[in-house]
C-alpha cells in the first residue's frame, strides 16, 4: 500500500484502467491541455485538478481528448461513444456545470436502456468536482448529488478518501451502467493508504468507519472526515457512534443504515447539500418509514443552509457543516431520548 492523495489515487485508477482496457477513453476541457498553445507542450494541464495527469502523454490524443467548452457535447461524446462500444470517462470540471449539460445526463444516458427495450448499454463514467472549500462561490461549489441521485438509471458515487476513490473509480469504469462520480475538491489533496493494483469496491455497500452503540451517524464525501472528528471526540466522553460512509448514494445501502439504527435507535445524517430534498432528507425519511420501530429520538439532519454557497472564507466556513455542528447534533440526539 502506498500513501496517496485522493487526486493521485484517482489518477492511478485511470492509468490502470486505460492500460487494462483499450476501450477506455477520457474527454473534457483541459484533461490534457496545451492543444493549440504556443509552448508545444502536449499536456500542459492534465486536468484542472491534476486527476488526468500523464494520460495523454501515455495514451495519446485519440484516447485522451481535449474539448472545446461545450459541456452538452462533452457528455454527448461520452453517451454516443458508450452506445457504440467504448468506455468513456468524461469530465465536467465542476459539478455546477450540469446546468449546461443536464439533458445529456438525465434525459439521455440515464434512460437509454429503459426506453430502448433493454438493448442499450451506456457504460459512461461522468466525473465532476464538487463541494465548497475553495471559496469558489455559488456557481463552483455546489454538491448536486441529490439532484442526480433522484434520477433512475444513474448510479452516483461520492467517495470520502483516496482508497475508496480508487476502488470506486475502477468499479465505475468497469460498470456497465452510467455512473456519475463526484470528487470533492477539498479532498483532492487529502492523503491515505491506497491498495496497489487491482482494487475494486462494489457499489451499494456503505462502509462502517466507526463502531459504537449510542448513535448512528450517516455521512458522505467530505462530511465523513468531519464526522470522524466529532465521533472520535465524543468517544472520549463515552458517547460512541456507528459512523456510516455511504460511498454511493445510488444504489443506497439502506440495510446498513437500518441495521445500525436498530442497535442505536438514534440517527444523525450529515450532508453538505442544501437541506431540501437532500440525501439527509432521504435517509431521515427512510428512518421514518422503514426504521420507525427502531427510532428512539428525533432524527438530526446536519446540512448546509437553504442559501447559495457564499464566497468569503468566514461565510463558506459557516455554510459547510462543521465537526462542531455534527458534535452538537449528536449531543442533541442523545438528549432527545
Amino acid at each position: 500500500m502506498a500513501v496517496l492523495t485522493m487526486r493521485d489515487a484517482l489518477n492511478q485508477a485511470l492509468h490502470e484502467e486505460m492500460e487494462r482496457d483499450p476501450s477506455v477513453i477520457v474527454m473534457g476541457e483541459d484533461v490534457a491541455g496545451g492543444s493549440g498553445g504556443t509552448s508545444g507542450n502536449i499536456e500542459a494541464a492534465g486536468g484542472i485538478f491534476g486527476v488526468t495527469k500523464g494520460l495523454k502523454t501515455k495514451y495519446g490524443a485519440d484516447r485522451v481528448i481535449d474539448t472545446p467548452i461545450s459541456e452538452s457535447a462533452i457528455v454527448g461524446l461520452a453517451n454516443g461513444s458508450a452506445l457504440a462500444g467504448m468506455r468513456p470517462v468524461a469530465e465536467l470540471m465542476f459539478a455546477d456545470f450540469v446546468g449546461v449539460s443536464l439533458d445529456q445526463i438525465f434525459n439521455q444516458m440515464a434512460k437509454f436502456r429503459y426506453m430502448f427495450g433493454g438493448k442499450a448499454k451506456t457504460p459512461v463514467v461522468l466525473r465532476m468536482s464538487m463541494g465548497a472549500g475553495m471559496n469558489a462561490a455559488a456557481q463552483h461549489s455546489q454538491t448536486i448529488y441529490p439532484m442526480l441521485t433522484a434520477v433512475p438509471g444513474l448510479k452516483v458515487v461520492v467517495p470520502s478518501n483516496p482508497a475508496d476513490a480508487k476502488g470506486l473509480m475502477k468499479q465505475a469504469i468497469r460498470d456497465d451502467d452510467p455512473v456519475v462520480f463526484f470528487e470533492h475538491k477539498a479532498l483532492y489533496s487529502k492523503k491515505g493508504e491506497v491498495p496497489d493494483g487491482e482494487y475494486l469496491i462494489p457499489f451499494g455497500e456503505a462502509d462502517l468507519v466507526r463502531e459504537g452503540s449510542d448513535v448512528t451517524v450517516v455521512a458522505l464525501a467530505r462530511m465523513v472526515p468531519f464526522a470522524m472528528k466529532a465521533v472520535d471526540k465524543l468517544a472520549e466522553e463515552g458517547i460512541t457512534c456507528d459512523l456510516i460512509d455511504l460511498r454511493t448514494t445510488s444504489p443506497l445501502d439502506e440495510e446498513t443504515v437500518l441495521e445500525s439504527l436498530s442497535m442505536t435507535g438514534r440517527l444523525v445524517v450529515v450532508d453538505e447539500s442544501n437541506p431540501m430534498c437532500s440525501i439527509a432528507s432521504e435517509i431521515a425519511g427512510i428512518a421514518a418509514s422503514k426504521g420507525f420501530a427502531s427510532l428512539r429520538a428525533p432524527v438530526e439532519k446536519v446540512t448546509a443552509p437553504h442559501t447559495p454557497v457564499p464566497f468569503a472564507r468566514e461565510l463558506e466556513r459557516m455554510y459547510v457543516p462543521s465537526p462542531g455542528d455534527i458534535e452538537a447534533a449528536i449531543r442533541r440526539v442523545m438528549e432527545g431520548a
Binding site: 457535447a73 454527448g76 461513444s81
Partner: protein, 321 residues
C-alpha cells in the same frame, strides 16, 4: 441514375414502406388505440432513404422526435416498431418507449429522441467510436429546421469539426418547427451557418431520392475518407400536422395538397424510374402491394400484441443495481 435496379427497388420499397406506415398510423390514430404523441414523417421519405441507402451495417444513425422514417430506412423491423407504437410488451422498446423513442442498437440505430437537439451530441460521440475503430464507419444525425436553433446542435457541429470526426449532419428543412415557420426562428440561413463551422454542406432536393442519395453519398464518402464532418441540407415538407391532432392553423389552405400533387417523393421516384425504363408501373405496384400487406399484418399483430406488465416497468433501469 448509376444505381443498380436492385438498389433502386430497395430504395423505392423503403420509401413506400415509410409512406404507408405513416398514412396508416394517420388512419389508426383517431381510433384511440394509440397512446401518446405521434409525429409522422410522410412527405420527407426521400431524405431518410436517400441517406440510409448509403450506409453500411457498421454505421450509426440517430433520429429525432419524428423518427419512424429514419428507423424504417435504417432497417428496423416494421412489426417491432408498430408493436412499440401500440405499447406492446414485445415492441422494440418493450412498450416503454413508444413512438418517440424507437431504437434498435443491433441496427446501429441509436434512437429517436424526444428532446429537440438531444441526438446530435450523441451522434458525435458515436463518431468518436467510428474513428477509433478505423474501419471507415460513419455516424449520421438528422436535425430539423427548428432543432437547428438548439445550442446542443451548434456544439455538436463544432465538436465534430474540432475532433475531425466521421460525422454527417443531415439537416431536414420541412418548413415548420411545430406551429412556427422555419424562417422565423433561423437567424441567417442553415447552409451558411453550418459552413461557418468549417464543414462542407451539400444541398439536396428533399423530395427527390436521387438528389438526396447523391448529396449524402458525398458527405458520407468525405467522412469515410477521414476528411471529417460535413452536412447535407434537404428541403421537403411534412404532410401531416406536427403531431397527430394538430389543426395546422399556421398553414395555407392548399399548401399540403400542392406539395402532394407537384412534388411528392413517391411520385417523383416513380416517374423517374418508370421514365428511365428501369421498372414498369406494374412492377412498382407489386412492391406497393407487398408493403401494404406487411403494414396490415403489422397493425393487426400490434393491435393484438401482449400488454406489458409490472416486470417490464421495473426492469432494464440498470443492468445491475
Amino acid at each position: 441514375m448509376q444505381q443498380s435496379p436492385d438498389q433502386i427497388r430497395q430504395a423505392y420499397r423503403q420509401m413506400r414502406l415509410i409512406r404507408e406506415f405513416e398514412e396508416r398510423l394517420h388512419v389508426e390514430n383517431p381510433k384511440g388505440e394509440i397512446a401518446g404523441f405521434t409525429h409522422l414523417y410522410s412527405g420527407q421519405e426521400a431524405i431518410a432513404v436517400g441517406v440510409c441507402e448509403n450506409l453500411r451495417d457498421s454505421d450509426f444513425i440517430i433520429s429525432t422526435h419524428r423518427g419512424h422514417g429514419h428507423c424504417l430506412a435504417r432497417g428496423c423491423d416494421p412489426k417491432g416498431m408498430m408493436h412499440e407504437i401500440y405499447g406492446r410488451a414485445d415492441g422494440l422498446g418493450k412498450g416503454r418507449g413508444g413512438s418517440m423513442h424507437i431504437a434498435d442498437l443491433d441496427k446501429g440505430m441509436l434512437g429517436a429522441n424526444g428532446i429537440v437537439g438531444g441526438g446530435q451530441p450523441i451522434a458525435v460521440g458515436a463518431a468518436v467510436a467510428c474513428k477509433a475503430r478505423g474501419d471507415g464507419s460513419v455516424s449520421v444525425s438528422f436535425t430539423g429546421d427548428g432543432a437547428s436553433n438548439q445550442g446542443t446542435v451548434f456544439e455538436a457541429m463544432n465538436m465534430a469539426v474540432v475532433l475531425k470526426l466521421p460525422k454527417v449532419f443531415v439537416l431536414e428543412n420541412n418548413g415548420y418547427s411545430e406551429h412556427t415557420g422555419a424562417s422565423y426562428g433561423i437567424g441567417g440561413d442553415l447552409k451558411t451557418r453550418t459552413e461557418a463551422f468549417g464543414m462542407p454542406v451539400w444541398e439536396a432536393d428533399g423530395f427527390d431520392y436521387f438528389s438526396v442519395y447523391e448529396a449524402a453519398g458525398k458527405a458520407i464518402e468525405h467522412a469515410r475518407a477521414g476528411n471529417g464532418p460535413s452536412a447535407i441540407l434537404a428541403t421537403a415538407t411534412r404532410y401531416f400536422g406536427h403531431f397527430e391532432g394538430d389543426p395546422q392553423n399556421y398553414r395555407a389552405k392548399d399548401e399540403v395538397k400542392n406539395f402532394r400533387e407537384t412534388k411528392d417523393a413517391l411520385m417523383t421516384i416513380r416517374d423517374k424510374v418508370t421514365g428511365a425504363g428501369i421498372f414498369t408501373a406494374e412492377e412498382l405496384d407489386a412492391i406497393d402491394d407487398e408493403v401494404l400487406k406487411l403494414i396490415d399484418a403489422s397493425v393487426d399483430s400490434a393491435r393484438n400484441g401482449p400488454t406489458p406488465g409490472r416486470d417490464i416497468m421495473m426492469s432494464d433501469v440498470y443492468i445491475d443495481y
